[in-house]
């Protein structure tokens, strides 16, 4: 039996190679596992397994399928795999532990959710669970953190964190993350009239530890009480910086999204990357990518840690289409490069300072075409970094929106409502060209394009890179494809039947490498992009966890 993926049996040369590529601070990681949301705290989404490679990928076959029994908003999770057990969350907070070799259910848990979850905008979906301290943690649709026994799925503790009635349905759509004994997470989006917060509890007991207010108290930043409805939700998972005992996490846009006249100021700490001291919740540093955001340009996406010229740096994509490279010690700017090819919301961004140059804002009563549109140059689905090639792989799209800014009364926004501050909002083609989508392979520091593959419609799933030299990516029709990581040549594809809006991962169980594809289109993104990509209308939803192996 081949054991290419087993570090204990690797030849010395291969082992040395893998060690060279090992994520920073990841010495204890088992190559066979996918233990965290991005697999490692470096946010790479890279599996060191290579049984599935350019020579063998053509032999991939379905090994098993697990269905969560509910398809509302599809499958959006990145599964967690430890010691051959798959932990994942389906629609409406259904959590499963599944045998990674057979697909057999080991346990199933679903909380009794408050009926208010049927009344809010961000319904049904969750992006995953977190496993640690012998627990499986979830953030719920009704505002709780819950710890389950990893072995049985029984509840260890449950802590109510938010009251959805009081915060326009602020709920946990992403898994709370671990930073040592701290479990932390933020709530949904910046599109509601709410004041964003990051909540932390003791991971062992569920007792509250600290709360970080993502809205600054500085009146120069938020005039009057505008910060009370200023957005700033940290709605995606953060990553733990073990070396500095810090949390790296991004925040959403400011609200109302496009009508900034009522909140003059820089609106800290919206649209920012934050480094927070994990034990205390104190702010170590921040980098605001979009001061006084009026374009719905969240900074909530992943932070990818790399070593550059002897220093730890963070690669961070903002919805506005620019990638910031920041020093991890203090957040200072190393470089800023554009992933977007059609941006017009700024003339440029200073690559040395990150300062916005030549802002182009929506205007009340006047229609403007602004690019990228509110879903960004990419949605929240993550990219992947391969230490084998030194490239960062990400989906991207070129779409604009037609906008007329308009005042909106926060008090008239209902629990399912949006606080966008517009009277006209439509996704449209960029000037002189059709809306387009692609998968890019780029140098993470300079942005230099190595290869690109066009897509019919934007990819909404997260990319996976592997030591087998394969890049896996799914599309909105449900087709998952394998590409050569050096050239972009397509090597394999399989139609799972419903779109990919999740995290594709890889793991090993009983000596065999698996590719695990959560299939099932969901979220609100397909709705808004339909005017630019009409064929996305009516694509079927679904929910199935599809595992592939070589035999």
């Amino acid at each position: 039996m081949k054991t290419f993926f087993n570090l204990g049996t690797l030849g010395a040369a291969v082992a040395a190679g893998l060690m060279a590529f090992a994520p920073i601070g990841a010495a204890a990681e088992n190559a066979e596992d996918w233990p965290k949301y991005h697999r490692t705290d470096d946010g790479w989404r890279y599996s060191p397994l290579d049984q599935i490679n350019a020579d063998t990928v053509k032999n991939l076959k379905v090994a098993w399928i697990h269905q969560p029994g509910d398809i509302q908003h599809g499958l959006q999770a990145t599964p967690i795999i430890l010691d051959g057990v798959v932990y994942y969350i389906g629609p409406n907070n259904n959590v499963y532990a599944v045998d990674g070799a057979t697909g057999e259910t080991k346990w199933h848990y679903q909380p009794d959710l408050d009926p208010i979850v049927r009344r809010v905008f961000y319904q049904a979906a969750s992006r995953g669970v977190t496993v640690g301290h012998g627990h499986v943690y979830l953030g719920t649709l009704d505002g709780r953190f819950i710890a389950l026994e990893q072995e049985t799925g029984k509840v260890v503790w449950s802590t109510q964190i938010t009251n959805l009635e009081e915060c326009y349905g602020c709920l946990f759509s992403s898994p709370p993350q671990l930073a040592g004994d701290i479990l932390y997470g933020g709530t949904t989006g910046g599109d509601q009239p709410q004041r964003g917060k990051i909540f932390a509890v003791n991971a062992l007991t569920g007792e509250p530890a600290w709360t970080f207010d993502t809205i600054s108290d500085d009146p120069e930043s938020w005039p009057g009480d505008t910060g009370e409805v200023g957005g700033g939700g940290a709605w995606m998972p953060g990553t733990y910086d073990e070396k500095r005992d810090a949390i790296i996490i991004g925040t959403s846009n400011a609200a109302p999204d496009f009508f900034g006249a009522i909140r003059e100021g820089d609106n800290k700490y919206t649209a920012s990357v934050l480094a927070i001291d994990a034990p205390t919740g104190k702010l170590n540093w921040f980098h605001q990518e979009v001061p006084h955001d009026v374009w719905d340009y969240d900074s909530a996406y992943e932070a990818v840690t790399l070593e550059h010229e002897g220093e730890d740096v963070i690669l961070h994509l903002n919805k506005g289409g620019f990638v910031s490279v920041l020093k991890k010690d203090d957040g200072s700017v190393v470089n800023v490069w554009p992933l977007s090819q059609t941006y017009n919301w700024v003339e440029s961004i200073d690559p040395k300072t990150g300062d916005l140059i030549g802002r182009n804002e929506a205007v009340e009563g006047e229609e403007k075409l602004l690019c990228p549109y509110l879903l960004g140059v990419r949605s929240w689905n993550h990219g992947a970094y391969s230490p084998k090639t030194g490239l960062w792989y990400t989906n991207a799209m070129e779409v604009c929106n037609r906008i007329v800014a308009a005042p909106q009364k926060a008090e008239e926004v209902g629990i399912a409502g949006l606080y966008l501050g517009v009277s006209v909002l439509e996704a449209v083609d960029p000037p002189g060209q059709k809306a387009s989508a692609r998968l890019d392979a780029r140098d993470p520091i300079t942005g230099e394009l190595k290869w690109t593959v066009d897509y019919e419609m934007p990819g909404l799933g997260s990319v996976l890179a592997t030591a087998g030299g394969i890049i896996f990516n799914g599309d909105v029709r449900g087709v998952v494809r394998a590409y050569n990581d050096e050239t972009g040549e397509e090597l394999w594809q399989f139609n799972t039947g419903s779109g990919i809006r999740s995290g594709i991962v890889s793991y090993a169980a009983d000596g065999k490498q698996y590719l695990l594809v959560p299939s099932g289109l969901g979220s609100h993104a397909p709705g808004f992009m339909a005017s630019a990509f009409p064929d996305i209308t009516g694509l079927p939803g679904g929910a199935a966890l599809v595992a592939f192996s070589l035999n």
């Binding site: 509302q72 009344r119 209902g414 629990i415 949006l418 909002l425 397909p526 808004f528 339909a530 009516g538």
Partner: protein, 123 residues
């Protein structure tokens, strides 16, 4: 003017929006449908603004369609649209929350706008 009465709507829609809904005025708080709004430009404009601020995300700009089938060029019964806005609708992968925090008049303005989408030149 249509009277307030208990009614059964058997609604067949292709794809994901298939539902059979039994509703009553007592359940929904549905008011008599103010048909005069349906030809009122101000009401339609108010509905258009509310649609742009709340409904675009799923139904597409001007109801062009998105996650759900398009609202343009459809021949809706006004009460069905009103009841769906009021109560929401679940089916398959997607569901629509209730929008009953809008006043009845605001909901009827939305109905007026959605009905106007059935009379576009492109239909």
């Amino acid at each position: 003017m249509k009277p307030m009465f208990k009614r059964t709507l058997a609604v067949t829609a292709a794809g994901l929006l298939t539902a059979s809904v039994t509703l009553s005025a007592a359940m929904t708080g549905a008011a008599t449908s103010p048909e005069t709004l349906f030809a009122d430009d101000t009401a339609i404009a108010n509905g258009s603004l509310r649609f742009a601020q709340n409904c675009n995300y799923c139904h597409g700009s001007n109801g062009i369609g998105g996650k759900h089938k398009k609202l343009q060029c459809r021949d809706f019964k006004p009460d069905y649209v009103f009841d769906t806005i009021t109560n929401g609708l679940e089916g398959g992968a997607y569901f629509m929350p209730p929008w009953d925090h809008f006043s009845e008049n605001q909901r009827w303005e939305l109905v007026a706008f959605i009905l106007s989408l059935g009379k576009l030149d492109s239909c």
